[in-house]
Amino acid sequence: MLIDRPDSYNEEARDQQRFSVRALLSVLILLALIAMLVVRMFTLQVGAHEHFITLSENNRLRIEPIPPTRGLIFDRNGILLAENRPSYQLEITVEQAGDLDPLLERLSGMVALTPSEIDRFRSLVRQRRPFQPVSLKSGLDDETVARIAVARHELPGVEIEARPVRYYPHGEDFAHVVGYVGRINEQDLQRLDTRNYAGTSHTGKTGVERHYEDLLHGITGHRQVEVNAQGRVIRELAVTPPVPGQDLFLGIDLELQLAARDALADLDGAVVAMDPSTGEVLALVSKPGFDPNPFVQGISRGDFAALQADPHNPLFNRALSGQYPPGSTLKPVVALAGLEEGVTTAERRMFATGYYQLPGHERRYRDWRRGGHGWVDMNRAIAVSSDVYFYDLGHKLGIDRIAPMLGAFGVGSRVGIDATGERSGILPSREWKRSAQNLPWFPGETLITAIGQGYMLTTPMQLADITSTLANRGQRVQPRLLRAIRQTGEADSVPQPVRFLEPVQASEAHWEAIHQALIAAVNERHGTAWGSVGSTSPGYVVAGKTGTSQVFSLGPDQEYKQSELDRRLWDHALFIGYAPADDPQIAVAVLVEHGGSGGRVAAPIAHRVMDHHLQSRGLLATVEGDL
């Protein structure tokens, strides 16, 4: 026991030794822990460095898009049709505004806010980036701006910003040509390049705005900014400026467009005028029009419903989307087919009675004129618009020889106008009928096709194109709205080239025969347009053809009496023509829905359009000068 009991010194030494062992062990453990930390740091800083540097850059850098300025749209003389106007917009930066509900409550006392505007705002708030102002209402008037400006110190995060907003100064008159832009929606996002539209709120929805979206939009610029954790921009690191959209010059002549509008007056219909040598559309009117400006910021449900419910259907683009039976206006094309196929000659005469019967058939195909037109050759048949002559010619040709000629003029295919909404019409043929109705072609259908009725449908745009081809004696020119493009900032615009299409082949003598017949229709006393155009001594020679197309079918023994019919069942009035006949400067197609007679209603409208155009081109002494 004595041996085991250490003296104090020994105990002290042992304790020190014990301590040293423990201390050494601790150092080893500490080294192991430090090694673990080093491994950890190595993993993070060297192993996963790329990963974390990316995360850190993503934290720090933000690319902010700078939307480009949309290109302007002018008429051929440089008059603005679509411009960008600063519009006062009420914007809220949510991060600075605090609680939204009381704020919206307050604002609704100063600005008229509809529930749909508030809903739209709330959905935009959910999609926003931090510190991105969200638009609550646009198009504020001066009074509202002033009211908010006064109270602004009580409204944190509320800003009034002037932002460019599309404006159409000639609203209603160009709605069906220029179209309009609207807010980008889900559908638009499917087709738009989302990267180039990162900062863009609007896109072309219809018309030229839609067709030339790529030219008008421009290229979005970018601002690379450094942001802090709250999303506030600290500094700008790099800027790629946006490239503004290009300015478009349309071939449309504002004055002519307005003249055509005035000529239509309060009738529903369409006027399309083209320059046959270039294919430029000089006027394209569809009446009634509508004001596209409310569509830019989003038209209210009520207003939109009212437009849709309007019996005159102002949203409907009659010039491009309206498909009507061309009626007698396409008789010249059928005549040309007859000449080219050798089925008839210009000189061959027939006695045109009041009706036509297919051999061995009972059914009578009536002429528009009771009692018929007597002896007619081709020239007279076109001028007086003899149905019986064309029933006979149609029968002799057969649908298989009529359809190709109509097709060569473009019936049944879109002209490819550079706007939206164009439809193709219908080119009737055996093949078409089999695929569309799964029925064989009946001989009687050939007869009514020959007078432009039945299945055949054309748009006013197509009719203008066909007129232009007639004026050019077969040379087809691509119709287009765009005349020239100007890069913003540059002084000169670049004209778009004229595109010639596959011509309609026919002998010169045959073209001349048709040409003379079209002159006769307007300028001979027996011509269908003599009373309304030819007899007014216009001072230049108009070539043209009237048309009156049925809206509903009469029974074989019924008679069409306009006065007894509801206006909606009245015939459509049509006229196609070009002038001056020997040097065509303008080709015009006019359609008046339920207008009645083509000669009395449609032809004078075309005449006024021609007058205006030829006067303004100096090809005709002004009326004032004449007097």
């Binding site: 301590f19 500490l30 673990m36 740091m41 995360l55 954790a229 709250q230 600290i234």
Partner: protein, 372 residues
């Protein structure tokens, strides 16, 4: 050359000796404080005022260090239990009359001074356990384990309930470390480990929701990237994006652009790692290791059990501080609110640490005198 005890001393040595300083330890501490000020300047967004406040604290800390270094070990030893009782009393006081700051009741307002009594415990704990064990001889026995166990558990629980998990951990560690250094037999150590493992479920039920959340967040920070996981995710991004050489002083985007939360306090290590990279971290870890090593060296050279145990515990607790902080900032440990010692911005912890180093200095200088 000044001759004091017959040996020739340089002026520097004479100065150090008259201030009771260990030159090596003092140099390492100053270097670490220097690094700390550098990082702090960057982490605070080049805020000179914050830097001045920290400098003031360092000054106060140094003053305390110099004072403590002069206190004879015997006095320190005699005061230890009283300090412990004072600390315990204040902890109870905090429980009933403490100020709430950041949702926790940690502060005691003494009119002039607002401080955390748990800081007293950081020093009182190792002192008292060492005091108790120095009354006994040989390795701690079962009775000692029970007594020391009570000494540790009571204040630790009080601190945990404040709640202040980080300080509780450090205070507990400082007590346990004394036991370990005193030569607690391996059987008991194994037993303690088992007991701790068994206590984990009990602790879990005792924890506050946010403390549990931190543990859960550690296991899967990405589960809540904008909430509880945000700290760890951003801190890992800061560390990882620093790479081998760092983004450079004042160039850490994570910290400068305020993505990193708590960047001057608990997460200051991430700022350092982002700006100075892996190489900087190696340097920092070396500095910490040298300080701990020097402290243990001083402890091992001490001539009495009390000094050894106190010095050893203080040095190793310092190591625990560092490992826990870096572990939590780098996502290895839960976020428990332990600052990076001598670097993190914040007063009380820094001053307590400096006082602890004062004790080390006292041990070192008095051992030298004894040796004489």
């Amino acid at each position: 050359m000044i001759s004091v005890t017959g040996r020739e001393l340089t002026t520097g040595q004479w100065l150090l000796r008259s201030f009771r300083m260990d030159g090596m330890l003092a140099l390492l501490i100053v270097m670490l404080l220097g690094v700390g000020l550098l990082v702090l300047f960057s982490a605070s967004g080049e805020d000179m005022a914050a830097l001045e406040r920290q400098l003031l604290r360092i000054g106060v800390g140094f003053l305390g260090l110099l004072l403590v270094a002069r206190v004879p070990i015997s006095v320190l030893k005699a005061w230890s239990p009283w300090l412990f009782l004072l600390g315990l009393g204040l902890l109870l006081g905090v429980m009933f009359a403490g100020d709430v700051g950041k949702g926790a009741r940690r502060w005691l307002d003494l009119g002039l001074l607002r401080f955390q009594p748990s800081e007293i415990m950081k020093l009182a704990m190792p002192l008292t356990v060492a005091w108790y064990l120095s009354l006994r001889s040989g390795p701690p026995r079962f009775v000692d384990l029970i007594v020391v166990g009570v000494l540790i558990v009571v204040p630790v629980l009080l601190i945990m309930r404040q709640p202040d998990l980080g300080t509780a951990l450090l205070v507990g560690a400082s007590g346990i470390l004394v036991l370990l250094l005193a030569g607690l037999s391996w059987r008991w150590i194994a037993g303690m480990v088992v007991a701790l493992a068994a206590a984990i479920p009990v602790l879990w039920t005792q924890m506050y929701d946010y403390q549990r959340q931190r543990v859960l967040t550690l296991l899967n920070p990405e589960s809540d990237p904008l909430g509880a996981g945000y700290h760890i995710i951003q801190s890992k991004i800061a560390i990882g994006s620093g790479g081998l050489y760092g983004k450079g002083w004042l160039n850490g985007t994570q910290s400068q652009l305020q993505f990193l939360p708590e960047r001057s306090t608990d997460f200051v290590f991430a700022v350092y790692a982002e700006e100075f990279g892996f190489m900087g971290i190696l340097f920092l870890l070396l500095l910490y290791f040298l300080i701990v090593g020097r402290g243990l060296w001083i402890a091992a050279m001490a001539q009495d059990r009390f000094s050894r145990l106190v010095a050893g515990s203080i040095s190793l607790t310092f190591a625990v501080y560092m490992v826990v902080n870096i572990g939590m900032v780098s996502g290895l440990l839960p976020v428990v609110g332990v600052p990076l010692p001598l670097v993190s911005y914040g007063g009380t912890s820094l001053v307590t640490l400096m006082l602890g180093f004062g004790i080390l200095m006292a041990v070192q200088s008095q051992q030298r005198l004894v040796n004489r």
